[in-house]
């Protein structure tokens, strides 16, 4: 089992455009006095994602822990809830064995969640979220090998768009000058043969 802490960044044009859209999107001027003009928070998170691959052929490898690149965007909704977007990219290399399929996985995920405020105290105010995950994953170099190192079987590469259900729990604290520090826990269940994952991360947000 190997852990790839710093995956190679290969942002495709689609994700570059999406990122640019998020960065350029600003709140419109409010029509009423008092409503903050800028409420969208952008940020990055740093943490571990424990990923398990669910192969259609079986032979699932042991889960891998990786550190994904995670871009976050969140803002209020009119009803006092907030949406939470995670744009996540990571790579993981799974080791092969006789009964585990080795493969290199490149996982790109967009998660959209609706979060509800759980006010425990004035300083601890977690948000519980639930939403959908849309991902594009490529599985390459798929094979099994014998205990002596010889190739047993080679499988075709595959790539898939998938959808999953994601839950998260976040809480953040205001630092100063519109900076927020937070923590999040998340759990992803795929709906098809794809990635199941759970993770924990710290994040930094800024009101842009």
């Amino acid at each position: 089992m190997t852990t790839k802490l710093f995956p190679r960044m290969k942002l495709y044009p689609f994700y570059s455009a999406l990122l640019a859209f998020f960065l350029l999107m600003h709140s419109a001027q409010a029509a009423i006095p008092g409503l903050p003009d800028k409420t969208i928070r952008y940020g990055l998170s740093m943490g571990a994602l424990h990923m398990a691959v669910d192969n259609p052929e079986g032979l699932n490898p042991d889960p891998q822990s990786v550190i994904p690149v995670n871009f976050i965007m969140t803002d209020w909704l009119p009803n006092g809830k907030r949406y939470w977007l995670d744009l996540l990219f990571t790579e993981a290399a799974y080791a092969a064995s006789a009964n585990q399929m080795g493969q290199n996985v490149r996982y790109t995920s967009l998660r959209t969640l609706l979060q509800k405020d759980l006010k425990l105290t004035n300083t601890i105010r977690p948000w519980i979220g639930m939403g959908l995950e849309f991902s594009y994953t490529t599985y390459g170099t798929r094979y099994t090998k014998a205990s002596d190192g010889f190739l047993l079987e080679k499988f075709d590469d595959r790539s898939e768009f998938n959808m999953g259900i994601v839950f998260n729990l976040t809480t953040d604290w205001e630092l100063k000058n519109n900076w927020f520090l937070g923590m999040k826990l998340e759990q992803l269940f795929n709906l098809e043969n794809n990635i199941n994952a759970r993770g924990a991360a710290a994040y930094l947000l800024y009101v842009l």
Binding site: A31, P36, P78, G80
Partner: protein, 316 residues
């Protein structure tokens, strides 16, 4: 001789004195009699006068006086023969109408009356314009069913003793001093009612700040005009959505206005001045304060006063 003459003179003098004394006595007695008569006369006159007054009081005079100096003038000057029209030709009349409704005409909402009764009231006081005479309302044969309804309705009963007492009075036709004047139209009355007052502005501002502080969206919706405009939106729905968002994303909020100078004209008022907002956004620990210039437009559509336009800029 001298003695006789002296005696005669003395007797004459005594006689004169006696006459003088008698005349004085008579004079005094006469005066006493006159005073007594006067007193009796005054007493009798007073009793008669009081009796007359009491009789009149019981009839109509005192019943009418508390509200109107003359019932007939009221019938012609304050109420039109046309339905829907209530006439106020001057400030005095306005005051009298206010008296009737026991409220200030322009500053406080009128009590809600039964419409048919209100409109029927003029019909209860018909004017015979042809010969410039007013027939007493309750003697008129022309009283229609609506009038009867009005007489029996609350509005009539609520006008203290006035019409009820008049109902008892005898047949009477009164000459008018002046011909009936043209009634003021409903539009003119509406203009009077819709005139915006400082108290209207103050109460609206207070309602707005209270609703803002209490996050009461319903009250905010009531204060904002249907055609409200701001620099960034002219849809009440969208603006209310923003208020809803503001109330939902803040734990507490407050707004205050200062140095607002109001320019009032008829039913509109425009105020320009300063505002200060302090709010605590959910998830933040520090209160945020914002200040700036604000312009508010208000309009009065009796009895409601609403905000029609809001423009603001924050200080840099």
């Amino acid at each position: 001789m001298k003695t006789t003459e002296k005696k005669n003179r003395i007797e004459e003098s005594l006689s004169n004195i006696a006459q003088y004394v008698n005349s004085k006595k008579k004079s005094l007695a006469k005066n006493r009699f006159t005073k007594k008569n006067k007193t009796i006369f005054i007493f009798i006159t007073s009793f008669v006068f009081i009796g007359i007054m009491l009789t009149l009081d019981a009839d109509i005079e005192t019943a009418v006086k508390p509200e109107f100096s003359n019932l007939d003038s009221v019938s012609t000057e304050y109420f039109s023969t046309e339905p829907n029209l209530v006439i106020a030709k001057s400030a005095d009349m306005e005051n009298d109408i206010s008296k009737i409704f026991q409220t200030e005409l322009t500053d406080k909402p009128l009590p809600v009356f039964d419409d048919s009764a209100t409109y029927a009231l003029p019909l209860a006081l018909p004017v015979n314009q042809a010969n410039n005479k007013v027939q007493h309302a309750f003697e008129s044969q022309a009283i229609n069913s609506k009038s009867t309804q009005a007489i029996n309705s609350k509005i009539i009963q609520n006008i203290p003793n006035t019409l009820a007492s008049a109902k008892k009075s005898s047949h009477k036709t009164v000459e008018l001093k002046s011909p009936p004047q043209k009634p003021i139209s409903f539009a003119a009355m509406e203009k009077i009612l819709n005139k915006i007052h400082p108290s209207d502005i103050a109460s609206t501002v207070t309602k707005f700040t209270s609703a803002y502080k209490a996050a009461n969206l319903d009250n905010i919706a009531g204060i904002l005009n249907e055609k409200i405009k701001t620099e960034y939106s002219s849809s009440k729905t969208l603006i209310l959505q923003e208020y809803n968002k503001l109330f939902n994303i803040t734990d507490k909020r407050d707004i205050s206005f200062s140095n607002i100078s109001w320019d009032r004209k008829n039913d509109t008022a425009i105020g320009t001045g300063r505002f200060e907002i302090s709010l605590m956004e959910k998830g933040r620990f520090k209160e945020k304060t914002m200040m700036g210039d604000i312009t508010l437009h208000m309009t009065k559509n009796y009895p409601d006063v609403s905000i029609t336009e809001i423009y603001y800029t924050y200080d840099n």
